[in-house]
Every structure is written in C-alpha cells, then in structure tokens.
Symmetry: D3
Subunit: 315 residues, 6 copies
C-alpha cells in the first residue's frame, strides 16, 4: 500500500468508458491512458499507455451486456497492471452479470460466479468495488476485500423527490422479499410480495398470487435487475388485476435491449427507474426509462478509500 | 478415487456418534474405530485406530452446540485421515453452525462461513455433504464438491402423514420467504410472511406485520434453524393476533437448550418439528418437540456416492 | 485415477460439437449428453445431463473464432464436471486462440495465454490435450500435464500423397523458421525464409526479403495459423517476384472468415491446406481450401491415454 | 507496508485483554475499539469498531485455556481486519497451546500445530509474534515471518535478583535438556536431567532416574509449560530423594487450574515462577506462584517492528 | 490412487542407484528405466525412459553429499513423472541433508528445510518416505503424508547381536538427549549426556562436561549424523577422561569424507556404526566403519504401502 | 511497497559479487552486508548481516556455471530476506541457466525452467530482473512481474563503434533466426541462417546448409549463449566454406570453460563478444574474448524501478 500522497490512477476498460468519465469528472482528475481492441480472429488485446509503477490503480469495467468479452478483457487488464508493477489494483465493477449464477440449484451445473471470482483472484487483484450483487453472500466468494455498494439510497432519493405518493413496495417474488422490505423501511411504506414459480431455464415465469393488499394504491415494484422485463410486466399485470393504481418499477441494473423495451412499452409500467451501472444505449433515450447515475457514489467510495477514510457510511 | 469395490469406512467425530450409528445401521456396516479426547489444558486430540490407507473415508461431525470445539476437532480429523493416506475424505456435516455467518452485513466483521470453508479446504477434504445451509450460496464458498441435502422432503412427509390440515405455511421473515414458498408448493397450500425488522446483534427481533391472510387457519411456521425460539414465539403470537387457529413450527436444525425450551413451553406453538442434524439432549424428550431422523437420507447419499450413482434425486 | 475398465465419457462444448462427433465415431462410443445456452443478457450456461460421478471425462472445446465465449464456456464446463464429482477431467482444446499471446513484447501488456492457463487450472483440470500451440513453451504455462499434438505429420502425409512436386518449404518469417525446418526435414526438401518486419499491432506486415533460392520451384508456405491471409498472400507475391512456380500454403489452424477468404481468392496461392482444429463454416466449402481432419489424431490420443498406453509416438 | 509514520493500532481479542492493556500502557497508546461475543448457540462473533483502513494492526490473542474458542476467534479477527482493508496484520500470540502438537509421534494422528498454522495463513496474516513455542521448528510451520520471543532472559533476571543461591538447573526430561542447558549457561550453573518415560496419552509420566548430581544443592526445575504440575512434582520428589535442598520451578507458560494448583500445594516445590503469557485467574493469587510479566518484552518488540528497528537483540 | 493390482514402479535418481538396486532385489522387481546427466554448462537433465502413465511411481533419491545437485535433480524427477502422467509419485529420500536446517536460530537466516519442503510440494509429490530427520517436527513442514522411518531398531539389532556389553548410551549434547533415551530404553541400559556448547557456524564445538557416570563402562555414543566426526571424537575423549572403557559410535547418517575419516582414525572411537542411507564411497571400506543396510526397511515400507497395509509397525 | 524515499539495499549472492560491486559503484551506494558458506557436508548457508526490516531488497545472483549451487543459494536468500521482514524482494538474475530448459521436446522430461520459476515464487519474491532468456515466453512461467532486459543494444553499440564493417548477421540455426533479424535491423544489415539439425542430447549438432549469401562478406554470428563453442565453430567453418571473410561471434551469455575456449582457439572465429552476465574467470583474459559489461544496464533498471520511473525504454 502506498502512502497517502501517492497518485490515484483511474483507468477504463471498454465497457466502462462512459462511467469512468463521470467518476473522473467528480474527482476532478484525468482518466489514465489505455487502449483495447479486438483482433480480427476475435482475441481481445489491452495495453496500458502510461507508467503505473507503484501507483494505486482503479480499473472500471462492468461485466455487462457482453459478459464474456467484458470479463476476459477485465482479466487481461488485471494482468497488465500487475506485470506493469502497479502498487495496488482495485477492480471497479458496477455490475457483475455472472453474480446471479451463485448457486447450484440444479444437478451438474457450474457455480459460475465462483468460477469468475477465482479467475479474478488468481490473475491478481487487491480489492473489488461492486454494487447490488444478486446475493450478499457473493462477497464471500472472494478472499480479497469487496466493497459492496448499494443503489437503494440513490434510487430512494429519486423516489422521495418524485411526485409518486400513496404507494406500496412490491417484490416480484419471495427471493427479493428481504430486499423489498429494506425499500419499504427506507421509504416508510408497506410491502407486498409476488408469489411466482420460475420453471426451468427458459426465463418464463408465472405469477401465482400477490401476498398483501394493493387496492387503490400506487405500487413500485423493486428488483435487482431486469433483462426481458417479463417478470416486471407480469407482476404489473397481476397488481392491476388486484386493483392497484399506477405501477412503477425500480431496478438497480437495467439490462433491457430492444426486445425487453418492447415488453416494457406494452406493459402497465408507467416508469422504469434504473441506474447507469452498465452503459446501455438501448435504455438511454427511452421515454419510459429514467436513468439515475451511481457514478458519484462510486467516485466517493474511491475518494474515501484513497484517503483511508471509512466507506461504511456509504452502504 | 478408488475402484468400485474399495471399502467404505465411516467414522464418527465426538459430535456425530449417535448420528453415525444410525447411518451405519442403515448401511449395515461397522463404524470405524477412532478416539478423541480433550486434554486437561483444553486441547483436542484425535486418533484413527485402524488403518485407512487407500480407503474412502466418511467422517461424520456436525458443527453443533459447541461449534468451536466441534470445528477444531473436525480439522484435526481431516488432517489425521490425510496423513494416514486415506484415498478420499468426505466430510459429513449434517449441521454447519457457522453457515449463518455468510455475509458482511455490517462494516468490519468477518465472513465466518468462508473462514471455516477455507480452513476445511486447506486442511484437506475431497467432498462435503451437508444439509440446509443458511443460504445455498455457501456451496460456492467451497472449491470441492458440496452435496447439499434438504430436510424439506423428509419433514413434509411427516406433515403429510400427520393430522394437521387446513393450514398455511408462514415464513417468519422476508429472508425465508423463498424457502417457505417451496414448502407451500410441496404441500399445496399458500404462504404468509412475517415482516419483522432485526435490530443489531442482540438477537431480539420485532415482528412488524404479517403479509397475507391467516384468519381461521392452522399455520405451520417454517425456518432453517431456531436457537432461542424467540422468532418463532413472536411470530406465533402475531399469527394468533391475526386470528390463526393452531400454530405449528417446523425447522431443519433444532438448537434449543434449556432457555429456548422455556420460551417454546410458554409460546402458542403446539408442536415443534425438527431433524436430528445435531445431537441435542435438551430437545430429545421434550413433549412439544418431534424429532425426525435425517440419518437415512445421509446414509442413502453415502451409499449412492460410493456406488457412483447420481444423488441428485435426493434433493 | 480410475481403474482401466472405468468408463470413458466424451462431451462436446458448443464450439466442439462437429469435432467431437468425429472423435466419437472413431472410438465407436456415444457422445455424452450435455446442454449449453446463452441467456438473453449474454450469460453462458452449461449443464451436464448425465451422471459423471467417478467417470474419466474428456470435454472437447476449441477456443476458436469466438474466443471469449468459447473460453468462458470452457471454464464453466470444467467447474460443472468437477462439482459433479468426475474422477478426472481432460480438456481437449484442438485450437487455443490466446496461445499466440505468449509473451510481453511491449511494455504494460498482459501475457494473455498465462492468464488463460491460470484460469483453467484454478477452475480445475487434470490434463490438457491441444495441438500446435504458437510456441512449445506454452506447455510450461500449465502445471498439469499437457499433451501437445502436432498437425505436421497429418499435413505432410497429405502433401506426400498429393501431386505437388519439385518444391521447397517457405517460412513466412524468421519466427516460424525453426518449425519450417521440421517440415523440410520430414519432406526431404530445402527451406527459404521470409524476412519481414511486423510493425505495431495493426496486423499489417511487410515482407522485406526472401532468404534462400526459389527460382523455378514450387513453394509450400507453412505457418501455424492464418486469420487475414495477409502474411501468406504477401509472401506468395514475394515468392512469385523471386521466380517461384506454383505457390501452396499449409497452416495448422485456419481462421479465415469472409475477408480473409477474399484475400486468399485474389492471391497467388493455388491451394490452402488446413486442419479442422476449429469448426469454420467459412472455409468448409471454399474451392481453394482443403481441410484435413485431425480428429482421428485426437481420438487415438484419447484412446491411448484411457488405455494407459504411451502417446509419445503420436508427436 | 505503510510509511514509518503510519499509525500503530493494537487490538485485544477476548483472551488477550489484560495483556493488551499492559502492552498499550508500556507504549502509551490507546487500545483499539473492538467487540466480541458468543451467541447463545455457541458461535463466536467479532467486530472491529473503528476504521483500520491502511493501518498496521496488531491483534493480541493468546491461545490459552480455552484453546478452541480462542483459536476460532483469532481466525475471525484476522478475516475481519483483512476485509476491513488493514495495511498489515500482526498476530500477537504470547501462548500457542497447540504448539505442543508438533509431530506425528503415533500412527494416524494429526499434526495439529501445522493444521493451526495453515488455518492462520489461509485466513490472512502478515506476521506472527509468539513466545517459547514447544519446539523452535514450529517457526517453519509458517510461511510468514515469525518473531519468536523468549521468556528466559526475563525469568533469569528474576532468578538473579532473587535470594535463590547454590543451585543447579534441572530439566524434567531429556526433551527439555537442550533448553535447560541455556538456563544453566545464562545463570552460570550446572545441569541435571530427569530421565522419565511418558507412556501413552494419559498424561501420567514416570521419573526413572536423575542424570547428574544434586546432593546438598538447591534446584530450579525449568520447563516450557505446566498444566497438571505432575511432571514438576514428580521431579521435585525425585530430586528430594537424591538429596536436594530447596526445590523451585520456573516455566514459561503456567496453565494450572484448580487441580494443578492442588498438586503444586502438596509438592516439594517451594515457588513456581511463570510468565503472564496467558491470563490465568487461578494462578494469580496463589501463594506459591510468582507471575512475571512479559508484556514489556512484547511491547518493545512491537515498538521496534513499527519503527523498523531490528528485534534480534530481544531474543 | 490406483487399484491394488496396479503396477509398482521404482526408479533411481543418480544419488540413489545402489540403494534402489537393493530395494528392488528385496522386492524382486526390475528397476525402472531412466537416465540423468549433467550438461557441460552444469545443468542437470533427467529423462524417464519407459511409460509411467497411471503407474504408482517411487523415486529413490537421497539428498546426500552433493545436496544441491541431488535436490535439484529430485525436483526435476518429480516434474518429469508428473508431466508423464504418473498416477502417484512417492519420493523416497533415505537422507535429507537440509533437514538439519530446521529452525531460525540466528536472526536473518533461512529455514532451509522448509524452503526445500515447499519446493518439493509445489513441484508435485504425493508422499515422502524418509528416515531419521534431524527433528520429528520436519514432518510438519510437509502437507503431504510423510512416512518417517527409524534406523534405531535396525541399528539396535546390530548392537544386540554384537559382542559389545557392559555399556551405557551417550548423547553428545543435550539436543540429542531425548533420542539417546530411546536407545537406552530399547537396549535396557542407562544414559549419559555431553553438555557442550556450540559456538557460531564454524562447526567447532566444545564439550563442557559429561552428565552421568561412565567409569569402567563401555560407551556407545549415538547421534543422527556425523560429517567431521569432531563432535564424536571430542565426546570420546571426554568419556575416556571420565574413565570410560571402549568407545563406540552409532549414527544414522554417515557423511564422513576423507577429512572426517582421518579424525575418526585418530580418535578413541573403536567402531563407528552407520546406515547406508547415502551412498558414501569413503566409508565403504574403512576398517573402523560398519555399514548396516536400511534398504530392507525401505523396501518393506514400499511393499506395505503398495499393498495398502499399515506401516506403523515399522517405526 | 515502500515510499519513494525508502532505502534501497543491494545484496550479492556468492555468484554475483563482482557484478554487484559494479552495480553499486554505478549507483554510488554500499553493498549490503551478508555472508554465505558451504558446510563440509555440502549444505549451503546464507545469512543477512544487517537489518532489512521494511527495506526494498535487491539480491544479485546469476544462475551460472554451478547452476544447482547458485539456484539453491538463491532460494535461501529469498527466504532469509522474507523472514527478516524485507518490504520487497527483487531477484536480479543476469543469467538464468535453466531458462533453456523451457519446453517438453521429448517425452517424459521435465520443463525445468518452470520447476525453477515455481520454486522461486513459492519461496517468495516480488519481482525478477533478468536478461536474454532463452525464449521470451519464460516471462510467462512467472506470476510476478519480470523485467526482461536485453543485451542487444549494449552489444550492438560495441559493434557499431568497432572497426567491423561490410558484414552480415548470421543465426546459427532457425531457432535464433527471429532474434538475429533484430540484430540485422538494429545494425542495418542483412541476415543469413544456418540450417542445422540437432540430434539427441549429446550437444553435437550438424550444420546442413547456409540459407542466404555471405560471399566476400564479414559475418557476425549471433546467439543467446555458448557453452562448448561447438555450434559457433561449426557455423564459422560452414561460412568460410561459403566464401565468407572474417568471422565474429556475439553472444549474450558466455559460458565457455577450458574445453570451450580450446574450441574457440582453433576455430575460424576472430573475436567472441560476450557480456559479463556471469562471472567467468575462464573467459576474462582470453585474447579472443571481449567482455562488455551489462552492469550499468542493470544498475539503471534498478535505479528507475526504485524511483518509480518507467524502464520500458531500456528494452
């Protein structure tokens, strides 16, 4: 570890460029010079273009909509910084797509989040900063310290300042019930829970019932991520059937692409609130989607880590 | 790995003697000879008393009511078998007390389940068989294969054959909502959820509300373990207030000692159903407690592993 | 390690299906049942669909034209087999795209082949079978045994049986001079060497001179792989300028896609001979490309490994 | 490693509180804030209650009279500090109970000291400071640097300043003969050796003979630890039979509890001199026991380490 | 691990050829074919010259009079067998020269025995068989099982059958007192101890006194190894001065070369009894040296290991 | 990592003393105090004789003409510095003899360079500085950063300033063709290549042909090392036969001893230019050998590393 006055150096992988620019702007520093490309045979290549000897390096690379390309590039960045003799390497991964593959819920499958954690650690990393992992246990997949930031305070702030009122929080399924309770407690409202049953791996899920009362109330459905918007749309429909008024959705990681946005478009959801944990050109200008930046949250975490302050007040 | 006709050898650590006897009886084999003791200065000592060279060893040692003593002894068994040149070592741990310490939910605490997993793996183990970990992600704390058995089928069987009817399943909090749903689906009934808020580490929790309807119904509260019986008793009281009829509780791991049993005694709970994952002399003869053995489940798993059959049908 | 009569089990990852079918046909066994897919958010999922407990598993997955997807899937297969308690796992990787990234020839880049080797080993593998790595030193990137097969005997066999005569072998650059010498010695002809200088990472290279004499002779240019066909076409042009007759090319791994084939089409190369180390639908039916199968070579290696015979006679 | 002016932070585990207070008093610094407890089901919980980001942490936790509880707590402290991003973690373990389990002197037992060393290292530690390990080889069980302090200079100092004269040093058995020689050389007196034979694990030992002459002399029996006081009492009796005058005993680690003190009471030993390496409420006020503090020795070692001075003059 | 009827394969490194021939003769099997050489620039080269795929390999290589050459060759053998896909590799190392470097008895030195143990384990070994390590704790330097054979029973047998009578056992210093006691107990005689002080690293030691009585008795000095014969000769002189009759010496590992033998020649020692743990051409025909073979002991250990019998009765 | 103003400390192992003196003179600092010796039984002993606590240590130890002794000593230095609590340890190894053993080019041999790399890393090192490894891929055998310096610029400088003119560069075989091209490009001349075939391990090689034209030209044969001078002498003879004028040779590492120098003496080589990467008393005063020091190159690299400057301009 370097002295307090050692230089901070933030670099962006190809999936983190926009996010890194926001972070650097917040911290009022220049982004480190680096370069990545894909060779015509498909191999990813990375190069650090300034000396990092004995520097404290932060590499920003969410594992997002091209998770395999993003992840392999991330490993190569870690190795490049290590072999370039950086003092410490912090991986800043606002979204970690494979986090949802965190258990062996069928026979003879892989615990892919652990595979990724091991590959990251064997390549060489000193710390990981991430946000809203699919389950908090994933911190325990890593031996190195993991700073696990939460989008909830930032998103709740937006909700409090919005004109949404007379609402309850809805978890789309029992698996998110615990987190939905935290939204409820932060916002001082009650909770309802969708009791769906997910069948096999075909991503089709079926809402069975709504536990709790929504009649005449607005509802904000909360979840950690959405890809197809299917669960949210089904839940919204179920809530409408139960007599709910306006339906909103608020998820940390918004992975919708064209198909998912068409589902959103047709759904009962009035507004979908997401963070900018991944750069998603599909959601950026969609009239139903509001994107709240968590870059200041990450920038503040980096600043405190570099100044040896506690970051526990951030989560 | 040995050939199919290699000899199976089951050993019992000091916390697994009763359980191991049941397993050996099911498999119709003799328990391996071994010996453990505590020196007067407190050190634990273990000794394997028959040759295990090239044998497939199963050591049964739940980490139960004396978790630190049980855990250290477990490490010493693993080392003793490894240095005695066993062909493979399978740790059979029907209960793993530290599994509930699976995340960093406060700043500057330890992820104790990962600490334990690493200590087990560095000492040397080939496979772990356990049951109803506090969260399924803990499988991912291990690099070696973990066979994660479930008490639910065994416990549901008991419920189906009992005279309990017209009931709903209740999760005592949102964190167990997902598992409670599985009980509901297995038993074909609906679910209600307690929305409590746990404050600090003082083990006192407070039921805030019940999500779902219980009026005029019997209720079976389900959970993975209970120590103080406090959460169950509070939930039972809340359910009664909501108009529920008879209240039952069904938990995988029953850790109640004298104090917990006094709480159970005074509570609205009519019957508490637990497994024998730990040997608990306090609950054994309590009139409100029914203990269902999961030893046949573990014995069957061991038999199939040894015969190279799939055990996925067991969970 | 299992006994000699333990069952052999060959599985195919998504990039190895065609190759695996050929191998199984050679060995007269059925391909193992497995399943892989890509979720809509981009995550790769794998599932083994039959028990592999205590089996000797061979998973065939070249890292080919989608190297990042192929590689991540490969890691997940290894983890799935390990957690499913396979007795041993052999990775059969006829082509390993990142092998060419085997050194730090610029400051602050990654040695990507070592990153991949570490990720493979930390996930868990017992042996690797591969072919014509960019440099033989890459065997040393792995701690586990690597069986390094050679396409040269198979390709030389084709050349010997073809009607090509009065020819010399040409290395396109000094880096392949040593391997070209081996072709020369196998075929009993002499060698010429292209002395080009590769500038930066833009894949454009420039032939400077031809060392050796080609006047009036047919020439077979040999190399380990070709993507853009640029080096081969430039070399062919240089050879023509030096007075060579017909020009052939023979490379182990043929990675040409549409663009590369257009270069081949226009070049002085009369025939390009490649192996089927990757499944390449672009080259399959091209009139200038001849594909020689190395599946029998791999099948024979697997057979001998399983029967505990020496495979050193294969390379 | 931090700069020389980085802040030193000393924390106490539950077995090291009294010792840590003395160390902090010597160094004139405040003890770090932390908290540990035992849950009602027996699990140990630890929490660091101030930021340690980039600090050099010293955690004082002897593994003493409750070795399993002490050891597990120690692992959790290490993990908590590591995940809280301490710059370095030094484990200060004045006594390490399992050190005496340092070899495989029977078939099929565990080398428990190595098991503990591995668990400590895999959890994460940068350095260990300890005192009078059962054998010096145990330093080699650790990969991290071990500073091995000696109580002998401190204890010899007490003896020199006492009124004991005309004495010889006695080793209670051949195993401690080498260390007893060092006492003899420090104090300028000669040595006698008890030639006992220990039989099995029942802690009963039998003095066979005394090698050397003690007639008319006072004797100080030296050893590294005593639990039951049995060896010392037997040796004292043997010495008396050989014509010795007053008998004293001097051991580094005094583990006597009620039973051991009764043996001491009845024995020929006039005074037992021990260090305060463990907090032992049983020996604290016993009229035959003199406790000499080694806290200043440890404090001085910590001070020198922190100031990057050599500590080799301390041993 | 292979099946019971898998083939045993014994190989000899360059320092173990004579010993291996004796072992193979005892077991009535052929020595494996292998080849080692030293290149003119000093590099050691090894090659296994028959297939070992899936075989249980025992490689016999004491680390003897050229410890660095012997040790490096040993590492290369391990790697060669591992990369040749042996089923298991057992290192048979009758003498391990660096074992005596087992502690950090001066500031800023290396614990060389642990360095060697780590290098052996990282290269890849499944088990180690050795004899009379300088301290039994060195077993704990290894994670893999170490079978620690003892020369004492073999040597005592020789003594019992010899005409030596009316003798006592002498330890040359307090450090060997414990082992000398075991000789005494085996032979039913008493013990005396030399109280020398070793000063610095110059290998010169000084006998200070003899603890115990030797007047009119024959004496057998015992030790684990001798290089210069200096300690033995000094002890012999001291014993003579104390009135001893004939002096014998019995050490497990005889490392004497020309210089040491000259010391022996001139000393009061009548006969030096050693084992053949290293091949020592200097001692082979010396009139004062008797060499007792421990090859049958190692052969029997290998036989039992291969037949999955207990070998604990051997030590 | 220490702060910029932490003290630099350079130490010399027994094979690096002369080189280290030159480096220290360049940097104007004193060599660290240390001591190494060989015990009479052959064991190597090392001791650091000044405190290195928290210092940045550079240990200079080429693995040269006694590679096994040099390498073992190197491991012990690393361990001694680590256990003495150095802040960081950089191994400066101007020559690494086992680097040439970098692949498995025969069945059942060891990849000895990887064995050495693993032993170095497991003992503990933070960085390696070396020069002209036999292949650049060997950097990838290490996980720690390797700074790979090149002798070529230094040697080319000498050639440019010499009176050698009208020359071409010759690679003695195809394996060095790529590096020879770099010499050609640096010096602006063309290349010829010896097409020899090496048979077995007997170090005898046979030049088959020279690819390229040398008539009437002076020739500088380049290679990475020479031991027997055989390849160079054969190449020189072949070149003479082809009509070459004066023949020079330029190799990075000059390992010639008496026998090699006799071959040089008789050969057509007029001057052999080598670096001082190893201390070679045989070549030092030979009239045909010119030794160019690379100590300033290493000193400059160390200076830049310590000042956190980029060293990429050095290669």
């Amino acid at each position: 570890m370097a002295c307090k006055n050692s230089e901070i150096k933030i670099f962006a992988g190809s999936s983190g460029k926009v996010f890194a620019d926001k972070v650097c702007k917040y911290l009022d520093i220049d982004l480190g010079k680096s370069y990545s490309m894909t060779f015509s045979e498909g191999n990813t290549f990375v190069k650090v273009e300034e000396t990092v000897r004995d520097k404290d390096v932060y590499i920003i690379q969410p594992v997002g909509l091209s998770p395999n390309d993003d992840f392999m590039e991330l490993l190569f960045w870690l190795d490049a910084f290590k072999r370039a003799s950086a003092n410490s390497i912090t991986l800043v991964m606002p979204f970690f797509s494979y986090a949802k593959a965190d258990k062996k819920d069928e026979p003879r499958v892989s615990i892919r989040a652990r595979v990724c954690a091991d590959a990251i650690e064997v390549t060489g990393v000193d710390r990981v900063i991430t946000m809203d992992l699919h389950s908090p246990q994933i911190q325990g997949f890593f031996k190195v310290p993991v700073d696990h930031l939460l989008a909830r305070p930032v998103l709740c702030n937006y909700i409090k300042e919005s004109k949404i009122n007379n609402f309850v929080i809805a978890a789309p399924d029992a698996g998110f019930a615990k987190d939905a309770r935290k939204y409820s407690l932060d916002l001082g409202v009650s909770t309802v829970i969708g009791a769906k049953e997910r069948k096999a791996n075909d991503e089709k899920a079926e809402i069975l019932e709504i536990i709790g009362d929504v009649k005449g109330k607005n509802v904000i459905i909360v979840d950690d991520f959405t890809t197809s918007c299917g669960t949210l749309a089904d839940m919204a429909k179920g809530l409408k059937n139960m007599g709910a008024q306006d339906i909103y959705a608020c998820v940390s990681h918004g992975l919708l692409q064209e198909k998912g946005l068409r589902v959103l478009e047709k759904s009962h959801i009035k507004e979908l609130i997401i963070s900018d944990s991944i750069y998603n050109q599909f959601t950026l200008n969609h009239h139903k989607v509001t994107t709240i930046s968590v870059a200041p949250l990450f920038a503040e975490a980096i600043r405190r880590i570099h100044n040896r302050e506690s970051i526990s007040t951030l989560f």
